[in-house]
């Protein structure tokens, strides 16, 4: 019989991050609180002639700094390598041994699972475009597949091809940790890692695992990714001022800023965490998921699905909207998202809407796409821990239509007991996770 939910409490016992603001939790957090921006001219590929010439890159990252056997990950795509670094940090904090066949941590590997919201590896663009160029006859508009194959078969590399598959970051984490519990990977656009952490919470609740390594890993800073988003006119084109380009909830917002990275949390059954004496960082108390079922191109105008997911998460947590202190927004800095998200928050928080504290760290970090929700859930935990909410930077010219408290430009010292993370993906994917200060 398919297992019902047993209401196991699920806590966070480790966190790790590799993102444009740093390669560890504290560096990222200090940069965030200092209002720094991780955005700059794109260097991963030559984007100088693209409509958008900047992005939020992870700089100077070397997976070998995190592992003894970097050879096992050397072919990994950017997302896989980021995931390994973030997972090493998270496991270390949680006391889970990595890179060993004989772990001394006493945890049965069959009871450790993985759930990632992970994206594709970049194509080998020279080969990809080169093969098309070789095969295409522009006069007849016909592809000569023989010529295409001559280039593709020589220039494409087997391991690079394998690493484009979206399940590979999870494969690298099994290799790293020896995890043999339920392993899953999802890709629901910008909502993926919030969904992964939500579903991983459910995996522990129903007893399928004691520990879940959950979060996201993604880099879409590659020519095809940026082409796609530029053509959708989703990206900011503020090329003269990259660091102020991500400006959620302002009147002058003109699109999101592409980022990349990995964010991993260790979720654990409370009983297991206590038994191991693990330090408990926070508790995950609610998860809600819905779909707009509206249009693949647009969010539902009234934020129907977003509202439904928030309400489902609140109901799942067994709280009311009055109990929530902080909303970590999806806040992409696109005209559509910020406006509809504001509507949805108003629908959920009703008379309290203007009191609720809402901020978007995408203003600093950019949009990590599949990895965004994971990074943002980590921020919720840190806000709870330190009693401070990160600001929405670049928030200088409020949009008169958007009238919530977006924590403009200066972090807010305040006690956060319950924080809500919401993520919305292309196609109408809505996922919400609620994090609470841990109390015995």
């Amino acid at each position: 019989m398919i297992q019902d939910i047993k209401k196991e409490r699920v806590v966070i016992t480790g966190m790790g991050i590799v993102c444009p603001l740093g390669h560890d939790i504290e560096t990222m957090w200090q940069a965030l609180l200092a209002g720094k921006s991780g955005v700059a001219k794109t260097t991963i590929f030559d984007a100088s002639t693209f409509p958008t010439t900047f992005s939020a890159e992870v700089k100077n990252y070397d997976v070998a700094k995190f592992v003894k056997n970097p050879n096992l990950h050397k072919d990994g795509n950017r997302g896989s390598k980021f995931a390994v670094g973030a997972a090493v940090q998270a496991c270390r904090q949680a006391g889970i041994n990595v890179e060993t066949d004989n772990p001394a941590d006493g945890i049965d590997r069959k009871r450790i699972g993985i759930y990632l919201g992970a994206g594709e590896g970049a194509a080998n663009h020279e080969a990809f475009f080169g093969a098309i160029a070789a095969g295409w006859d522009n006069q007849t508009n016909v592809m000569d597949w023989t010529k295409w194959t001559d280039v593709a078969a020589v220039q494409m590399r087997a391991m690079h091809e394998l690493e484009q598959e979206a399940n590979m970051p999870a494969a690298h984490l099994s290799m790293l940790t020896g995890a043999r519990g339920p392993i899953r990977s999802c890709l629901t656009a910008c909502a993926a890692s919030t969904q992964a952490i939500g579903e991983a919470t459910m995996t522990i609740r129903r007893g399928d695992a004691d520990i879940m390594i959950a979060g996201g890993a993604h880099s879409m800073i590659h020519p095809l990714g940026q082409t796609g988003f530029n053509r959708l006119t989703a990206l900011s084109k503020r090329n003269d001022s990259p660091q102020t380009a991500s400006r959620p909830f302002t009147a002058s917002r003109d699109g999101f800023v592409l980022g990349e990275g990995a964010a991993i949390v260790i979720l654990e059954n409370l009983t297991s965490a206590k038994k191991r004496g693990a330090k408990i960082l926070a508790e995950i108390i609610g998860y809600g998921s819905s779909s707009d079922a509206f249009r693949v191109t647009d969010m539902h105008e009234e934020g129907r699905g977003a509202t439904q997911a928030m309400e489902a998460a609140i109901a799942d947590a067994g709280i009311t909207y009055n109990d929530i202190n902080y909303v970590n927004a999806h806040g992409t800095s696109t005209a559509e998202n910020d406006s509809i998200e504001t509507k949805a928050i108003k629908a959920v928080f009703k008379e309290r809407a203007k009191q609720i504290v809402v901020s978007s760290i995408k203003s600093s970090m950019g949009h990590l796409i599949g990895a965004a929700g994971g990074a943002e859930i980590i921020t919720c935990v840190l806000a709870i821990r330190d009693g401070i909410v990160p600001a929405t930077i670049n928030c200088n010219d409020p949009d008169p239509e958007l009238d919530l408290d977006y924590v403009p430009n200066t972090p807010r010292k305040m006690q956060v007991n319950v924080a809500m993370k919401e993520s919305f993906g292309f196609g109408g994917q809505n996922d919400v996770v609620i994090v609470k200060k841990y109390q015995d």
């Binding site: 019989m1 398919i2 297992q3 939910i5 030559d46 100088s48 002639t49 693209f50 409509p51 069959k110 699972g113 992970a118 475009f129 080169g130 098309i132 160029a133 095969g135 597949w145 023989t146 295409w148 194959t149 593709a152 078969a153 494409m156 087997a158 091809e161 394998l162 598959e165 979206a166 399940n167 590979m168 494969a171 290799m175 043999r180 519990g181 392993i183 899953r184 990977s185 999802c186 890709l187 629901t188 656009a189 129903r206 020519p223 095809l224 990714g225 082409t227 988003f229 053509r231 959708l232 998921s289 819905s290 779909s291 079922a293 509206f294 693949v296 439904q308 196609g427 109408g428 994917q429």
Partner: protein, 438 residues
């Protein structure tokens, strides 16, 4: 919370053997292979020139009139999901917005969708005019692409290729407003999507869920990828029918193809209340991973599969003695077939000699994220008809494989069926179906 039973009340399939589950099942029973020489592009210089292609269809026939315009934004992967979902919903007797807007008998907020999808690879021809515009000194030039080429890419191009668009299009067509997820665990995505959809019902987040997967592997980039990773066979370009040989001593690689397999999962109370026909009960699901530094193959003892099968058996509260059919992943890659055989054998022990094992990929081809959905549909139909068709192309069982591969069609009562899968990268899954008893 009460004990929730999850049953299958609708099935849909599109495969190289036909555009419906009925046609697919007919082909399987007749031992037909859907594998042929590739027609979608000229494969002359590919080491593997074969694939399982789906016959022609008109996608407009599978969507409501109001949605016809949106079919322009569908890649083949999305179309295959839409076709399989259309059949599954109609078969279940549920009336969604797409079936008849006046007679809807479902609550959209209580419906979930969970599909396995591949990383959709774009059509090189679609980008070719933009690439042609970006040539400088005879070579592709990224600066020219950014300046001129990019503008020739159709504005909604990216939305055709995001994996979650399968579930989004199907969700919009049928107005599915509950939880929606897209599992991207390559060849085991469909199995996992079915498991997670069932969990959504079990935990009370939905009453009904569409689950399974779809993928179009017949794309020059994806076929080239599999050729380069050496997972395809290059020995049978003149012998399509005998090309994919799961568990056979002459197995030399897999053959890839297009397909979609989607089932309607439903809370038993809901199904009973509306008098739905019930195909089978979903009683056990589990996942694990094989761990192998050679990521493209699973570990030699298939241990990750053993774990998944043992856990699924425990969840189903049955023993191997209760299983009368196993549909394995059986890719026709000898090394992986042997590892899978060992992994299954370790889980079912002395029942290995008895339990009929029926691989389907020699006929359906390896349809990636669609495999799990297609195999579950096949298992459901085998259970309904009490027939296990003969395995195709397993003429001389590979040494080291102790499984009871069925070589002749068997008429038998199937109490429980196990579908299992794995993928490059290592993820594994097992799904157990049980004949429905009230």
């Amino acid at each position: 919370m009460g004990r929730t039973r999850v049953v299958i009340t609708g099935i849909g399939a599109v495969s190289p053997l036909g555009l419906t589950s009925a046609r697919t099942w007919e082909g399987l029973c007749a031992g037909k292979s859907g594998i042929k020489r590739i027609t979608k592009f000229d494969p002359a210089k590919f080491s593997c020139q074969l694939a399982g292609e789906v016959e022609e269809y008109k996608i407009q026939q599978y969507v409501p009139k109001s949605f016809r315009k949106a079919t322009k934004m569908m890649s083949k992967d999305i179309e295959l999901a839409v076709i399989a979902a259309d059949e599954a919903v109609r078969d279940s007797g549920l009336i969604t917005k797409a079936i008849d807007e006046q007679k809807i008998n479902v609550n959209p907020q209580r419906m979930a969708i969970n599909l396995g999808a591949g990383l959709i690879s774009c059509d090189p021809c679609e980008l070719a005019p933009a690439v042609a515009k970006s040539i400088a000194n005879g070579k592709f030039d990224i600066q020219k692409w950014g300046k001129e080429g990019l503008d020739l890419v159709t504005p909604l191009w990216l939305l055709k290729y995001l994996p979650n668009m399968l579930a989004c299009h199907v969700g919009i067509i049928h107005d599915i407003q509950g939880p929606s997820n897209t599992i991207t665990c390559a060849e085991v995505s469909g199995h996992i999507a079915i498991a997670e959809a069932a969990e959504t019902i079990a935990r009370g987040d939905s009453d009904i869920a569409l689950a399974g997967g779809a993928e179009s592997k017949v794309n020059p980039v994806l076929i080239m990828r599999q050729c380069l990773i050496k997972r395809t066979t290059s020995k049978h370009n003149d012998d399509a029918d005998g090309a994919c040989r799961p568990f056979d001593s002459d197995a030399s690689g897999s053959i890839f193809g297009d397909g979609g397999g989607i089932v309607v999962l439903e809370n038993l109370d809901n199904a009973t209340k509306r008098g739905a026909k019930i195909y089978a009960e979903l009683v056990g699901t589990a996942q694990s991973a094989c761990i192998n530094p050679v990521y493209e193959h699973i570990e030699a003892d298939g241990y990750g599969l053993t774990i998944a099968i043992e856990k699924a058996l425990a969840q189903a509260n049955i023993s191997p003695k209760d299983i009368d059919l196993i549909i394995p992943h059986g890719t026709g890659i000898l090394q992986d077939d042997l590892a899978e055989a060992k992994g299954i054998e370790a889980a079912i022990g002395e029942e290995t000699k008895r339990i009929p094992v029926w691989p389907t990929k020699s006929m359906l081809s390896n349809t990636g994220a669609a495999c799990g959905g297609l195999d579950v549909v096949a298992a459901v139909l085998a259970m309904r008809d009490g027939i296990i068709p003969a395995a195709k192309n397993c003429v001389k069982k590979a040494v080291g494989c102790n499984l009871n591969i069925v070589t002749t069609t068997q008429k038998t009562n199937i109490r429980c069926a196990l579908c299992c899968g794995y993928t490059y990268g290592g993820q594994t899954a097992a799904v157990i179906l049980k004949k429905f008893e009230n």
